[in-house]
């Protein structure tokens, strides 16, 4: 009897505790939802959401179209973080905050969920998991892996209105040649130089190299004068995409690339010539700097004045300015072929999955992200915005020497990101980055041996 009584008391206590716990959880859950979901009615995005207003939004959100989107706008947590930064929000923060405000204002029927799924591999993993689960987000974002999504036929073709709005270098096409993804910003590679270091070595801005031979001669001379204290600089071969991106303009300038029609091209003599040039230029870096796993020591060395030249995207202008150095910029030197090769970097592509629930609404959000008011913000960071209206009107960027040069290059030609392989793309790039590019500068192994060994590893991955 006593045991039964005890059991009944315990059951009652347990039930009571559980119910109390449930009540508490609900309240917490509600709070979290309010924090994480940023509805478009929140015009004053930088201010804390008032509880009464939030309740009003909740009532209205039932009729709204809910969209889950990465890399388009900021949720309240991200806005708070950006505002708390020392020196205020960066140009990148400003873009996302402006887009958030404008979507709230111009697309009031949409309930936006701005998710922070990271960037690079992390974002790719999250999006692939959602594709596999059959619950793709309304918009997918990314850089190097977006061509893989396109090749797999997962993306909805862009409306002609968006295609007409942007420069062709900002588009990604599927296997049928239809534009399926658009970047709202990008950058291309240039050479940045340390003016003070050049002057110290007896060079002026008139001497800035325009050909490979001139660059090598100048860089060799600076390295010789530096006697281990400073170096001329060359082409980085970091054993990851950072190396491949910076080397690609030189391969393209020699009329070649790692992939031809999706097939690996390491036995191409033109490609091997460029690898020899990269190896020779690498002697103008201190050992381990041009091919280290971590890129940052190189940019630090440039900012601190121990490297004369670096190959970097246009965003280096803003970084060099922040570092307070006396710097200059020039187009990538050309070789005898006279081909103006380059490669886009720092692009953020947006696309709508074929399985997305609200395709029209998603494209409207992309259009908003590409609006003139939003796109202008990228000019602050010396990034090239996608829309023709800005690219073709120099009055938007006439005071920025980097952008003047970059926009001219973008206007003159059509560029793309790294080459893609239809199958095992990442695995193949890993072999190229580590066993071709890094090995070229870390060892004295014959270039043809390096290439043939890597080719042997890659061919089975393409079958």
């Amino acid at each position: 009897m006593k045991r039964k009584l005890l059991a009944a008391c315990m059951a009652a206590t347990f039930a009571l505790t559980s119910l109390t716990g449930c009540g508490g959880s609900n309240e917490n859950a509600q709070d979290t939802t309010q924090q994480k979901t940023d509805t478009t009615d929140t015009a004053e995005t930088t201010e804390t959401v008032d509880t009464a207003e939030a309740e009003k939004e909740d009532t209205g959100s039932a009729e709204k179209i809910h969209l889950t989107v990465p890399k388009v706008g900021y949720n309240q947590d991200q806005i708070n973080t950006a505002n708390a930064k020392e020196g205020g929000p960066t140009y990148e923060d400003k873009y996302y905050m402006t887009v958030t405000e404008n979507i709230a204002k111009n697309l009031p029927d949409y309930e936006m969920e701005y998710v922070d799924w990271g960037w690079g591999e992390t974002l790719d993993q999250k999006q692939r998991a959602l594709f596999a689960a059959g619950s793709a987000p309304d918009i997918v974002a990314g850089e190097t892996f977006i061509p893989s999504y396109a090749a797999e036929g997962l993306l909805e073709p862009l409306p002609q209105e968006i295609v007409d709005l942007v420069n062709p270098s900002f588009l990604v096409y599927d296997n049928d040649g239809k534009a399926v993804a658009v970047a709202y910003k990008t950058s291309i590679f240039m050479i940045f130089y340390n003016k003070a270091l050049l002057e110290q070595c007896g060079y002026s801005e008139d001497d800035i190299p325009t050909t490979w031979d001139e660059w090598k001669a100048m860089s060799d001379d600076i390295t010789a004068q530096g006697q281990g204290e400073f170096w001329g600089g060359g082409i980085p071969t970091f054993p990851h995409a950072g190396g491949a991106l910076r080397a690609t303009p030189f391969f393209r300038a020699n009329g070649t690339d790692f992939a031809v029609d999706g097939k690996i091209n390491l036995d191409d003599e033109k490609l091997q010539e460029v690898l020899s040039f990269i190896r020779e230029m690498n002697y103008n870096f201190p050992a381990g700097l041009g091919n280290g796993t971590d890129e940052f020591p190189m940019w630090d060395a440039f900012h601190e004045g121990s490297i004369a030249f670096v190959v970097q995207g246009s965003f280096e202008g803003a970084d060099a300015e922040t570092a307070g150095m006396d710097w200059g910029v020039a187009p990538i030197p050309m070789n005898d072929s006279g081909i103006d090769g380059n490669c886009t970097v720092g692009s953020v592509y947006l696309a709508v999955p074929k399985d997305a629930a609200n395709k029209e609404a998603s494209f409207n959000v992309i259009k908003e992200a590409l609006s003139l008011e939003n796109e202008k913000v990228w000019l602050e960071g010396s990034y090239c915005p996608a829309i023709k209206e800005i690219i073709e009107d120099p009055s938007y960027y006439e005071n920025d020497k980097v952008l003047m040069m970059e926009m001219q290059v973008i206007k003159d030609g059509t560029y793309s990101g790294l080459a893609t392989f239809p199958k095992n793309d990442s695995s193949i790039w890993e072999i190229i980055n580590q066993n071709v590019l890094a090995r070229t500068t870390m060892t004295e192994d014959p270039i043809d041996v390096i290439c043939s060994e890597a080719q042997e590893q890659i061919v089975p991955l393409q079958q």
Binding site: G134, Y149, D294, P297, E430, M442, Q457
Partner: protein, 306 residues
């Protein structure tokens, strides 16, 4: 008759009580079985299935391709190199960790006032986050990092550690031992303290030297502890990948790349899920074989001693 009925009733009661107990026991263990099935057995079976398919995480369904991933694995010299490197690099790390942790355990067993401090101190690397400690390690090894600055001050030439397979394997081993020595040393210490002290006193009175006391009392007394440390060490060495990922990323140009790190990249970086499934099955089977062989050796020795 009454007596028989009474006994029969008692037996029935006992039997039904036994059944109730059994049911209750099942009720208690079923959630745990369900948990293990959900998070252990189902993923294992799915991994085995993926090994027989081609799947990049983007197509709707994995495509069944039979044993092609396994054939590719055993016919591709790159994969065989990675497997071999996993074994020899793991063996070096295991050997050094076992040896040094044993010596450390012996040192910690020496009575001293500072013993408690050192016992806690050696455990700290184990609880520190790998991502943070390895980042510090990398900074030390940068071309102009602390290690090269030290070498320069000593009048030696700086070394570009990242260019050399030998040096990167060396630093991976140093980091592995630094990180894992604490728990192993504490287990050795527990074993050492479980040995009857009177055996040492008796041996001492019989004139046994320190080395002889270690050889004939300590080592046989630690047989089971050693079995545990080596067996878990074999499993740990065959699963080793985070150290390589954080310290060398498989560089220089893939010379420190190992199969577990490749498995991780094939799976969730390159999304070659089929090959990752096949690799995990292969490495799992090899680990089981190594463990069984080791266990057999230990049991055989036990039988001989008996």
């Amino acid at each position: 008759m009454e007596e028989i009925k009474r006994i029969s009733k008692k037996e029935k009661t006992r039997s039904s009580r036994q059944k109730r107990r059994t049911r209750r026991a099942y009720k208690i263990i079923i959630p745990f079985f369900a948990y293990i099935a959900l998070w252990g057995i189902l993923p294992l079976l799915y991994g085995l299935y993926l090994g027989l398919t081609e799947y990049n995480g983007l197509s709707k369904k994995p495509v069944f391709i039979g044993l092609r991933n396994y054939i590719d694995f055993f016919t591709n010299s790159a994969y065989m190199q990675l497997l071999w490197r996993q074994i020899w690099m793991g063996a070096i790390c295991l050997f050094m960790n076992t040896l040094l942790s044993f010596l450390l355990g012996l040192a910690l067993n020496v009575p001293s006032r500072a013993r408690g401090f050192f016992r806690s101190g050696i455990y700290v690397p184990c609880i520190a986050a790998t991502s943070i400690t390895s980042a510090i390690f990398i900074v030390l090894l940068e071309p102009n990092g602390v290690m090269n600055t030290l070498l320069k001050r000593l009048g030696a030439s700086p070394i570009t550690w990242q260019y050399s397979q030998f040096w990167m394997v060396f630093w991976i081993m140093v980091y592995f031992v630094w990180k894992n020595i604490g728990p192993a040393a504490i287990i050795w210490l527990g074993g050492l303290q479980s040995i009857d002290a009177s055996l040492y006193e008796a041996a001492k009175m019989d004139g046994a030297s320190s080395f002889q006391r270690i050889r004939y009392i300590t080592m046989p007394g630690l047989r089971f502890v050693a079995s545990y440390i080596i067996l878990t060490g074999i499993i740990g060495a065959m699963q080793m990948f985070d150290v390589v990922m954080f310290i060398s990323k498989g560089n220089p140009y893939g010379k420190t790349d190992i199969l577990m790190y490749r498995l991780y990249r094939d799976g969730i970086v390159n999304f070659n899920m089929g090959m990752a499934g096949a690799e995990s099955t292969i490495i799992g089977l090899i680990t089981i074989v190594f463990s069984i062989v080791y266990f057999r050796i230990v049991l055989k020795k036990e039988d001989q001693n008996a």
